[in-house]
Amino acid sequence: MNLQLDEQGRLKHLLTTEGLPRSLLERLLDRAEPYARAAEAGFKKDPLLVGKTVVNLFFENSTRTRTTFELAATRLSADVVNLQVAASSTAKGETLLDTLKTLEAMQADLFVIRHEASGAAHFFAEHAAPGVAILNAGDGRHAHPTQALLDAFTIRRHKHKFEGLSVAIVGDIVHSRVARSNIHALRSLGCTDLRVVGPPPLIPAGIVELGVSVEHDLMRGLDGVDVIILLRLQKERMVGAFLPSLGEFHRDYGLTRERLARLKPEVLVMHPGPINRGVEIEGEVAYGPQSLIIEQVRNGVAVRMSVMAEILANTQ
């Protein structure tokens, strides 16, 4: 996966958290700190990327993620172009490559790409002109590295370290790029007790080889954990095929106040959003005192600023 690092080990593209050394992950988290603090203090604008062009190229619908990337680029004073491309118009390979080449010709410096196919970000990075950076905003089930970084950033702000932390990722692991990216990032950052929790059809084959343990019983999986990362259940494709009903999923895997009360009092609850109230999480838990869900969104901007600043500093 050295596609994303240059010969000096500096970040050239951000495609996945897999294979990123701890020092680099920490550097990205450190770099996000001042952006987060400045925003909290009301100072939002930084002139760092004046004259740079960032293109948000989204082949999959997303308002939330696209907005945070847009905000991050704008706060760094880059020019931002948003392109929502219907997947149907890019069914052929030439068109996908043509899209990239056409936009490159407009002197874009950084592409933020979301695509439904796993490996799409790698594909763009392989074909991008020298000096053009690719930032993966989610490719299929494969990776969502900035989500993993913002989750790590949020955890670090509260727990200050990763060694000794127990983290459980709960729900639809099989389709989740967030789960995969979190596993790689948290492992690399020093977290050794990582668990994935869900019904067997939602746990992919061989996941233990990524360095996690698997638990099918929610309360056993959450026993003694410090952090719970709930995943969004893609309701449309779940019922019938993977699960009998959303109600049954909630009964066995939903995080409720009653269940939360039986866990460590300082346990943190996270979710990449948007949440399905009453499915993976009870509304009261989502906005309860242990929930970091809103803070994750806020931190998302700072972390994405950090990544953009890092990558574009390296492409000079």
Partner: protein
Amino acid sequence: MSKSPSSLLIQNVRLLDPAGDRDTVTNLLLRDGAIAALGADALAGGDESLDAGGHWLLPAATDLAARLREPGATQKATIASEASAALAAGVATLCVPPDTKPVADTPALIDRIHAKAAQAGAARVLVLGALTQGLAGEALAELSALKAAGVVGVSNGQRPLANALVARRALEYAQGLGLTVHVQALEPALANSGCAHEGAIATRLGLAPIPVAAEVAAIRQWISLVEDTGGRVHFGRLSSARGAELVESAQQRGLPVSADVAIHQLFLTDAALEGFNAQAHLLPPLRSEDDRQALRAALARGVIGALCSDHQPHEPDAKINPFPLTEPGTSSVETLLPLALELVHEGLLTPLQMAQRLSLGPSRVLGQSLPELQPGARLPLVLVDPQSPWTLRAQDLRSRGRNSLFDGRRFQGRVLRVFP
């Protein structure tokens, strides 16, 4: 290939005769495309002679699965381009699956493919007829008419049949005509549009998985139908240990089932997908190391009686896309013999066994006889240097498809000359 003189003496050659089950160093006189004499008798003649010490002479290969892309996808390749690439690589007979466009479900189309191949004048092209009309999996194609047009078997290619009843009736009907049903076993519901072997690598890369059960369930169902009907089934492109195991147990019970493997399955595993390598996007997918070892063992035991290339040439664009959106398949007819030689170097097969898996085994699947290498025999032969080292460059392939899995790989042994 250089033009053969009217008679040629090949001296001191290691002659691999699969049909005669002989492996000897001898002299051989070729005259007008037939073996004229062997041993000391051969030394009497020859307009030209060739010292082939250290080299092997064997029947040219018969490839049970090669897509030539014509008609229907001539942006990828043509019958002429692939038949001549194959022949130059020592593959003198190609068996084409019916999934051309239009589908090979009418005598007219079979005739057209045969005519194009004759025109090309390179490798001989045999056709598997469509098992169902349009390969739609529902109504049987006119199998008797296809047989009269010269198909060497029938198949639904990689397309599913509507249900087990269609499969059973197709098998019975084909049996009545003496046609073997070629099956690429993949239960479509379990394969579920996946693009990679189910396991840790597909999970890490986020690629939709194809479980081993997709192959095993389909094999099991077909074997049940063979048990009922006695119809003959050939399982093409086995990819899993459990699949090979099922075929072996069916053979032990005397059922008329045979199997082949695409030779790249014996060399690569799903590890080749690392970095979203679209060249390794295949169907069936490259599977685990255990599967690879079991397939090798099944080949050595003869459970898998034939090696094939599963040649699928593509235009470059077919592989220029994110992995799941690329087209599966690899351009592989030119690596069939070089890889087979490696199986000998690695000690898996004897040279004679290799020759058997490349010619006798596939011929039997097609119900064709392979002559013994005796005076009077007329069959395409290939002369190989089993030792000569070389490096494959995809851009140097003769096939129109440059989508090789082995670009840059070092090989030991190559085809020197083909006597068609």
